[in-house]
C-alpha cells in the first residue's frame, strides 16, 4: 500500500525542505565553516591563509584572558548548577504542594525571565552602583563604597547572582510543569507504604521527573556557556568579567577583526557544548525507544 499520494509528497517536500534547508544554511553550514576558519589567519577582508593549529597554540599560550575566561565559564556553570537550579526545583516543590496564592508566587518568581538581560545588567547598576546604589546606601558605605561591579574579585559573583535571578524562575516553571504531570497515585501508594515526604520525593517523584531533569540540565549548561548579554551590558565583559562568548565577540566584531583566532575560541566553546548536547540526545534517544 502506498502511504502518500503525490500531493502529500509535495507538501512534505516543501514543508520539511524549507526548515531543513534553513537549518543547514543558518546553523550547520556556518558551524562547519567556523571550524575551517579556526585554522586560518583571516582578518575578514584579505586573503585566507592556512595556519594549521597556530591559533589554538596562541590561544592557550599567549592570550592572557583565555584561561580566566575558561575559569569564569566553569564558575558560572557551577553556580547555576549547584545553587540556582536546585533552588528553582525547591521552589517548584513548595508551590506544587498546593499552597494558597501559588499563582502569585509562581508569577513573581517567573517575572524576571521575561526581562531582557540588557535590562538586568542596568538594574544591577542601580542596586550595586558605587555612589547611590541601594546596597551601599543600606550598608551606609557613603565614604568608602564597595565597588561591586568594578572590583574584579567581586563583580563576577554579582553577575552570577543576577543571572541566577532569571535562571531560577525558568527552572521553577519547567519543574512545576513536570510535577503537575506526575501521577498522584504514585504518591498515594508511597504514602500508604509509610514513606515520609522526603522519601516520597527523592525515591518516587524525582526519578519520574527524568525527562524534565534532562532538559533542565541541558538548559543550565547551555545558559552557562552562552552567558553574554548581562556582562556585555555592564562593562562589555572586561576587568574580571571575561567569558568565552565575550572573547569571541571581541575578536570577531571588535576592531582587531581576528576572525581566525575568534573562530578557534568558538570551536573550543562548540566542543564543550557538543559534549553535553550529545549526552542529552543519547538520553532522549533511549527515552524515545522506551516509549
Amino acid at each position: 500500500m502506498r502511504r502518500f499520494t503525490r500531493r502529500d509528497v509535495v507538501v512534505l517536500g516543501v514543508l520539511l525542505g524549507i526548515p531543513i534547508l534553513l537549518d543547514i544554511v543558518i546553523i550547520w553550514g556556518p558551524t562547519l565553516a567556523s571550524i575551517g576558519l579556526s585554522f586560518t589567519s583571516w582578518d575578514g577582508v584579505g586573503d585566507i591563509h592556512w595556519v594549521g593549529g597556530d591559533n589554538y597554540k596562541n590561544m592557550v599560550e599567549n592570550y592572557p584572558v583565555f584561561w580566566p575566561a575558561v575559569r569564569h565559564n566553569i564558575l558560572w556553570l557551577l553556580f547555576l548548577g549547584l545553587i540556582a537550579t536546585p533552588f528553582g526545583l525547591f521552589l517548584a516543590v513548595l508551590i506544587d504542594r498546593g499552597v494558597r496564592f501559588s499563582r502569585f508566587y509562581q508569577s513573581t518568581i517567573y517575572l524576571p525571565v521575561v526581562l531582557s538581560l540588557a535590562i538586568v545588567g542596568f538594574m544591577a547598576q542601580l542596586i550595586l552602583g558605587t555612589d547611590q546604589g541601594v546596597i551601599n546606601t543600606i550598608l551606609n558605605n557613603h565614604d568608602n563604597p564597595v565597588d561591586w561591579l568594578g572590583d574584579s574579585h567581586i563583580n563576577l559573583w554579582m553577575m552570577m547572582i543576577a543571572a541566577s535571578w532569571r535562571h531560577t524562575g525558568y527552572v521553577m516553571i519547567l519543574y512545576l510543569a513536570g510535577l503537575k504531570s506526575v501521577d498522584p497515585q504514585l504518591k498515594e501508594a508511597a504514602a500508604i507504604d509509610g514513606a515520609n515526604e522526603r522519601q516520597t520525593f527523592f525515591r518516587v517523584v524525582f526519578p519520574t521527573l527524568r525527562p524534565v531533569n534532562v532538559i533542565v540540565g541541558v538548559i543550565t549548561v547551555i545558559e552557562a556557556l552562552r552567558a553574554f548579554d548581562i556582562v556585555y551590558a555592564v562593562n562589555k565583559g572586561r576587568n574580571g568579567l571575561e567569558l568565552l562568548s565575550v572573547l569571541i565577540t571581541d575578536n570577531i566584531i571588535g576592531e582587531a577583526s581576528r576572525i581566525g583566532f575568534g573562530s578557534a575560541i568558538a570551536v573550543v566553546l562548540l566542543t564543550v557544548s557538543l559534549g553535553f548536547i550529545v549526552t542529552f540526545l543519547v538520553q532522549e534517544l533511549r527515552g524515545a525507544r522506551d516509549r
Partner: protein, 309 residues
C-alpha cells in the same frame, strides 16, 4: 472529540495538585512557614523591578543626594515622557515588532509541521531529524556568527526589500537567523506535545481520506493550541529581548531593535540613571504584559508539553 481532549487535560492537572496535598497535609505552623518563605522569595525577586519603577518616578537631584533607597519627596511621571521621546523608542519598538511578529509566526508554523512529521507520520529517520533540529538550537550563538556575517554580506537583495541592497543590515537577516535558531526548541517541545495526542484521531482521518496537509492543518494543529500559546509567549520574549543578532547583523542605528534604544539614554559624560530606569521599565513592559495576559495558557501549555504519552 476535540472538546474531550481539552477538557480532560485540565481536570487531570487539578486532580494532581489537589491530591498531592491530601496525603501529607502539612501542619498549620509548617504551612505558615512556607508562606513566609515564599513571600520573602517573591519580594526578593520583585525588589529590583520595584526599585527601578521607584527610581524612575523620582528626580535625579533627589536620589543623587539621598541615594535610591530613601524616602520620596517628589514623585512624577515626567521621566517616562522624556525617556520615550529622547530614546526614539517608538521607532525602535516598531523595528522590534517588524522582526518579532513574522519571526514568531513563521517559526511556529515551520516547527509545528516538522514536529508533526516527526511524531505523527512515523517517517523513517524522524528521530534523526528531531536531533538535527534540537542540537542546532543548543549551539552557542557566537559559533555561527562569522560565517553568517560573511554570507549575509554576499547576498544581494533588491532595493524594495532592503535599502542596504544586501542581506546584511536588513531586517531579513535578523528575522531569518531568529527563525533558524529558534526552530530547534519549538520542534522539540511540539514533538513531545504531539506524541501525547491519541493516534486514533489521525487514523480515523486517514480512513476518511485526509491527506497529509489536512491531517496537519485541520486535525493536529487545532489540538496544539495550548502548546502553541506557551511557545508563542516564550518565543516572543526571546526574540524581543535579543541583543546579539541585531548588534552584529545591523549597522544602521535607525534599524536597531528596542533593546538597544536604551543606549541613547546614556549620556557621553553623564548618565541620568532615573531616566534610564524609566526607559528600562518601558522596554520591559510589553513582555511583562504578554506574559501576564497569556500566563494561564502558558503554564497549561508547558504542563501538557512535559507529559509523556
Amino acid at each position: 472529540m476535540t472538546a474531550d481532549i481539552r477538557a480532560s487535560a485540565p481536570t487531570r492537572t487539578v486532580a494532581a495538585s489537589a491530591s498531592s496535598s491530601t496525603p501529607h497535609r502539612p501542619s498549620r505552623r509548617g504551612r505558615f512557614g512556607v508562606h513566609i518563605f515564599l513571600m520573602a522569595v517573591s519580594l526578593a525577586f520583585l525588589a529590583p523591578l520595584l526599585l527601578a519603577v521607584y527610581a524612575s518616578l523620582r528626580p535625579y537631584e533627589e536620589t543623587a543626594q539621598h541615594g535610591y533607597f530613601s524616602f520620596p519627596r517628589h514623585l512624577s511621571f515626567a521621566y517616562y515622557r522624556r525617556a520615550y521621546t529622547e530614546s526614539g523608542m517608538g521607532k525602535y519598538f516598531t523595528n522590534t515588532l517588524l522582526i518579532a511578529v513574522p519571526g514568531v509566526l513563521i517559526t511556529l508554523f515551520l516547527a509545528s509541521f516538522v514536529a508533526f512529521a516527526v511524531s505523527r507520520l512515523k517517517l523513517r529517520g524522524g528521530l534523526v531529524l528531531l536531533m538535527f533540529f534540537t542540537a542546532g538550537n543548543l549551539l552557542p550563538q557566537q559559533v555561527i556568527v562569522t560565517p553568517l556575517y560573511v554570507l549575509f554580506n554576499k547576498i544581494p537583495l533588491p532595493w524594495w526589500m532592503s535599502d542596504s541592497q544586501m542581506m546584511y543590515d536588513s531586517y531579513w537577516a535578523v528575522i531569518i537567523v531568529n527563525i533558524g535558531f529558534q526552530l530547534g526548541f519549538c520542534v522539540f517541545v511540539l514533538a513531545n506535545f504531539m506524541r501525547t495526542l491519541p493516534q486514533e484521531i489521525l487514523e480515523a482521518a486517514i480512513v476518511d481520506g485526509a491527506g497529509v496537509w489536512t491531517q496537519f492543518w485541520r486535525i493536529t494543529l487545532p489540538l496544539c493550541r495550548p502548546a502553541l500559546a506557551a511557545l508563542g509567549t516564550l518565543e516572543f520574549t526571546w526574540i524581543y529581548n535579543d541583543f546579539l543578532w541585531a548588534l552584529i547583523f545591523i549597522s544602521n542605528p535607525d534599524k536597531l531593535p528596542i533593546t538597544s534604544s536604551l543606549n541613547n539614554l546614556r549620556g557621553q559624560f553623564f548618565t541620568d540613571y532615573n531616566l534610564l530606569a524609566a526607559g528600562s521599565v518601558l522596554v520591559a513592559l510589553p513582555t511583562i504584559l504578554v506574559f501576564l495576559l497569556l500566563q494561564r495558557h502558558f503554564i497549561a501549555g508547558l504542563t501538557l508539553g512535559s507529559t509523556k504519552g
